[in-house]
């Protein structure tokens, strides 16, 4: 099943809505937005957003999360802001 045309906007909206609580999200948090979305379709949009510099990865070494570039408390904490 294809994703809706405004899938990208929906992803960004979710990041902003929930951004007050936390800045990083697991891949699964994005697939949950779309009822019929296949994970691989969602991944394509996330990859586009990463390549556009909108999203960045955060890795614990064993797991990886996505977040808005520059958002969150960790950027400053790591001195990489």
């Amino acid at each position: 099943m294809a994703l809706p045309d405004d899938a990208k906007e929906q992803i960004l909206k979710m990041l902003e809505d929930k951004g007050k609580m936390k800045s990083k999200f697991y891949f699964n948090d994005f697939t949950k937005i779309f009822e019929d979305g296949k994970p691989r379709e969602v991944k394509k949009i996330l990859t586009t957003l990463v390549n556009e510099g909108v999203l960045i990865f955060w890795s614990s070494g064993s797991t990886t999360m996505y977040g808005l570039a520059g958002a969150g408390k960790q950027s400053a904490g790591e001195g990489e802001a």
Partner: protein
């Protein structure tokens, strides 16, 4: 003159085993002298500071490293692990000291030319300290700064034609035994399959979209030199379906003591004369061997291919000719729900380069589709299997059910029957029932 006094670490310079302390001191000297006039892109004395911070840990029994999750190369979700020292004033040259994982060639063979180029790159842009290799199999570069990451990646891809390895919720850098390149036990081309699968799944390796890490490992035979059955979510292990091959002349030579048993692996102790009955026949786990009239006989149908007779008499016993691989899935170390060994998903699959290993890839992709939809965050495949049942994975993989997939059938009758399993389904008519049964 050493930058930091390291009396505790110095005690690790004695003794026969190669001392990493002595080795790091060599690197300190080399960078201090800098005979080739290199314009080091990270602090020249960072190996000195690494020894300094390690000495401090030896003194107070606690690590001095902090994790960093943001650093990486543009567009990739893995391959770089951020590291910061928690005493940056004392050890400024390792204040930012990130790890870079570089994808190793299948089977870890190198030319000195290629290794030399890696060394040159890492001398210019990093600490000169490496792991050969990391636990998953990567070449690990230990210690560089953030501005160097893109430069290293650019040089790796443009000049060395080599990519980064995996970390995080990715496909991790696949690993293989040396396979057919130098081993008579290899039942399929482990290196070929590993290289092909690594390249096929580059997107999965660099851009995380899994619930957790996922590892491929490729063993050429049941001896399992890369530990695929214990360490990989998807283990491909060589096997064969026909009879192992026996050379009776060589059997006689082993019995007569003309060939050293075990390929010489036990030669450091006098274990007495080789006793084929006690050492081979009696130890066969399925009791499918016998030694009669000077001949080694096998009931091949009963053989479980444990490799013992082959390992013990490699000149007399060889793997069969109808070779292929088994697939085990779901192995992991104990975190979190306890350790899991790989469970047998496919008893046999032909490893066919001709169709680009399509059959194996279909199985992998079926499992991934399922796991990406059903797996919980930070749940390894093995844990999803435990939670949802082996049946679910077998179905997702699109392979048939087989008694070989279990050690024994279930010991409880609590079968989750589904409506389609039962004649007439579940939509019973209570009125119809009442015709036969009064309240």
């Amino acid at each position: 003159m050493a930058k930091h006094k390291t009396p505790l670490l110095d005690q690790l310079e004695s003794g026969p085993w190669p001392s990493f302390v002595s080795d790091i001191k060599q690197e300190c000297d080399s960078r201090a002298k800098n005979v080739n006039g290199i314009d080091y892109q990270v602090a020249a004395d960072c190996p000195d500071d690494l020894l300094g911070v390690l000495e401090l840990s030896y003194k107070d029994g606690e690590t001095h490293w902090k994790h960093g999750g943001i650093v990486g190369v543009f567009g990739y979700g893995g391959g770089v692990i951020g590291r910061y020292c928690d005493q940056p004033e004392m050890f400024p040259s390792v204040a930012h000291f990130h790890t870079v994982r570089v994808n190793q060639p299948s089977g870890k063979y190198y030319s000195t030319e290629f290794l030399g180029s890696l060394c040159d790159l890492w001398e210019l842009r990093g600490s000169g300290l490496t792991n050969m290799h990391g636990a998953t199999g990567d070449i690990v570069f230990i210690g560089t700064t953030t501005p160097q990451l893109e430069e290293i990646f650019y040089e790796l891809t443009h000049n060395l034609e080599t990519d980064l390895g995996g970390s995080g919720s990715n496909l991790r850098t696949p690993a293989t035994c040396l396979g057919m390149s130098r081993c008579e036990y290899a039942c399929y081309d482990t290196q070929g399959l590993c290289h092909d699968m690594t390249n096929e799944y580059q997107d999965e390796l660099h851009r995380p979209a899994f619930p957790y890490k996922f590892k491929f490992k490729f063993d050429g035979c049941p001896n399992g030199c890369v530990a695929s059955i214990a360490r990989s979510d998807f283990s491909v292990m060589g096997t064969w379906r026909d009879s192992l091959r026996i050379d009776q002349k060589a059997v006689a030579a082993y019995v007569a003591g003309e060939i050293a048993p075990n390929a010489g692996a036990h030669s450091g102790r006098d274990w007495g004369k080789f006793d084929i009955q006690a050492e081979v026949i009696d130890l066969c786990p399925s009791q499918c061997l016998s030694y009669e009239g000077g001949k080694l006989l096998i009931d091949a149908k009963e053989c479980v291919r444990c490799m013992h007779c082959i390992n013990t008499m490699p000149q007399a016993c060889r793997i069969g000719e109808d070779t292929g691989a088994m697939i085990f899935c779901g192995a992991k170390s104990p975190i979190l729900d306890g350790a899991q060994m790989g469970s047998l998903l496919m008893p046999f699959v032909v490893v066919d380069e001709g169709n680009e290993y399509r059959e194996i890839k279909d199985v992998v992709e079926g499992i991934w589709d399922f796991w990406m939809e059903e797996g919980k965050n930070r749940e390894r495949l093995g844990e999803t299997m435990k939670r949802m049942g082996f049946q679910a994975i077998i179905k997702a993989a699109g392979v048939p059910f087989d008694v070989r997939q279990v050690q024994e059938p279930r010991t409880n009758p609590y079968i989750f029957w589904k409506a389609e399993d039962v004649t007439g389904g579940w939509d019973n008519d209570i009125a119809d029932y009442r015709k036969r049964h009064k309240l």
